[in-house]
Symmetry: C2
Subunit: 299 residues, 2 copies
């Protein structure tokens, strides 16, 4: 038997079949289309395509786990207000259960990514996955089990204010970390970067674009702030950095390390936390959320 | 058999004997004296006095748990740099083990208080204990078990900066929550309040002392910030507020509730967290740290 995990993102839907050994037996990527019907159709197609790719019957799949942005009713399987997917309300769990006749569990995509990163990177203990995406949030797993918190808000550190004079945040607060350390934050700080500011940011900064430089510095300082908050609240063994902006790669890695070391130099208290040693980047093209969705579907 | 729990605070040492039922069978309070020898002598006396008060033999005590500020080596039982106690280095665990011949476990006092508060207030799930003391920190327990984190820094939210233009913190950073929401912070903001600014603060504020008012407002906003940080990182069921400054009582409770409701009014995101409903104050004169120390000595 194999478990299916599906990561429904704003641009692509990635599905994996996970063998009992925990290995990825097959994977499929489809473009995500917007709206309730399209999301359901793409998700269904991805499962069928996965069986074909793996050379298996649908009956050999034992469960489906889904990672999706937006408010998720894990028990009922309903997705609400997944804005990036054009979904206002979708009974995704029940629809897939009816179609495939196996258990379906819907989870937050960042929580799923945390579980997948811990599995794929062989990280034990408590792992926080810091998602530098359009938004900013962390997912937490403890020994492979998702830590969701009482209100499902565990790891929602993107909406912690760190500057009373900072920018207004769509959440209604001011100076939230998400206003500087996210794709949405980058677009505000560097409008010239267009809809996908991460792509040209480093080049623009290196050619002397002051807005690009400032946007990058905000991102770095916000991400470092997230690392500090995670260390002084949950205190995980490892903080994995992923999400679209993590593809900034080496420049981001170096700048983040430099900031954390600078803070350690100023504060022995921070130095004791050994933050730089606890940060790892998710390797590129790692289907963490899809794998994690397959894993959490049985916990 | 009974378990002993001892809370060694800056002014008093409180010891309790906990029956197997979890009830407090006896308690003793002695003044704390400064220095390695005095701390050890007072702790030893408190155990002996506890046996006498309970009408028991020392042999009926099965374990000793200690809650103490400062850096604690839980395994070795060594206390280092407990500044308020005048202790630079004390082999407290080994000394007590030798004297009484039973297991001794030393723990951070705020972690112990979290365990004790959860027990005494019958709180299940994840509980954060926010200690508004000379310093500012939270202790975390999950289903009665202490959550210490990888570096023992779980809940150390007092050293999270929330204002780039805030005051310098002794930790080497700037604008830490502890600079506004702690006894040390109050002393800076309201020097006229003397060494124990909590005692006269409300009266001074009500008679129009602007510094006292500002100090109180900083305390309230910092404490509310701690509640928000705990909710958006660990997301506990209950946040218990204790520590010396919690004795400000009703004015603090009301102002904190008002601030959290004001934030909820500005931000639907924050409103969803139902913060005011998750905050409770530790009832006055509750020996949470002593009871918690007795409890964690067996976990």
């Amino acid at each position: 038997m194999m478990r299916v995990g599906i990561d429904i993102g704003g641009t692509k839907t990635q599905a994996v079949a996970l063998a009992d050994s925990g290995e990825i037996a097959a994977s499929v990527t489809l473009p995500t289309m917007r709206g309730e019907d399209a999301v359901l159709a793409t998700t269904t197609s991805s499962v069928v395509a996965l069986a074909a790719t793996a050379g298996r019957e649908l009956g050999e799949f034992s469960s489906i786990g889904i990672g999706i942005p937006g408010h998720v009713d894990r028990v009922g399987g309903r997705v609400r207000n997944a804005v990036n997917l054009g979904v206002r309300s979708l009974e995704l769990g029940p629809a897939l259960r009816e179609r495939f006749g196996i258990p379906v569990e819907i989870d937050n995509d960042v929580t799923a990514a945390a579980a997948g990163a811990a599995h794929l990177m062989s990280l034990s203990g408590t792992v926080a996955f810091l998602n530098l995406g359009t938004g900013l949030a962390a997912g937490i797993v403890v020994d492979g089990v998702a830590w969701r918190g009482q209100a499902g808000a565990a790891g929602e550190i993107g909406h912690l204010p760190v500057d009373p004079h900072g920018l207004e945040c769509p959440c209604g607060q001011r100076g939230c970390l998400e206003t500087i350390a996210s794709g949405a934050g980058l677009r505000r700080a560097w409008p010239a970067g267009g809809a996908h500011p991460g792509r040209g940011l480093v080049r623009a900064m290196e050619s002397g674009d002051a807005d690009a430089r400032r946007a990058f510095e905000g991102l770095v300082s916000g991400a470092a702030g997230c690392v500090r908050i995670l260390a002084l609240s949950i205190d995980p063994q490892t903080i994995v950095i992923g999400g679209g902006l993590s593809r900034l790669g080496e420049p981001l890695r170096q700048a983040l390390g430099a900031t954390l070391r600078e803070w350690s130099g100023t504060s022995p208290f921070i130095a004791d936390l050994k933050l730089p040693e606890r940060v790892q980047f998710l390797p590129e093209n790692t289907p963490a959320a899809a794998v994690g969705a397959a894993l959490v579907s049985r916990t």
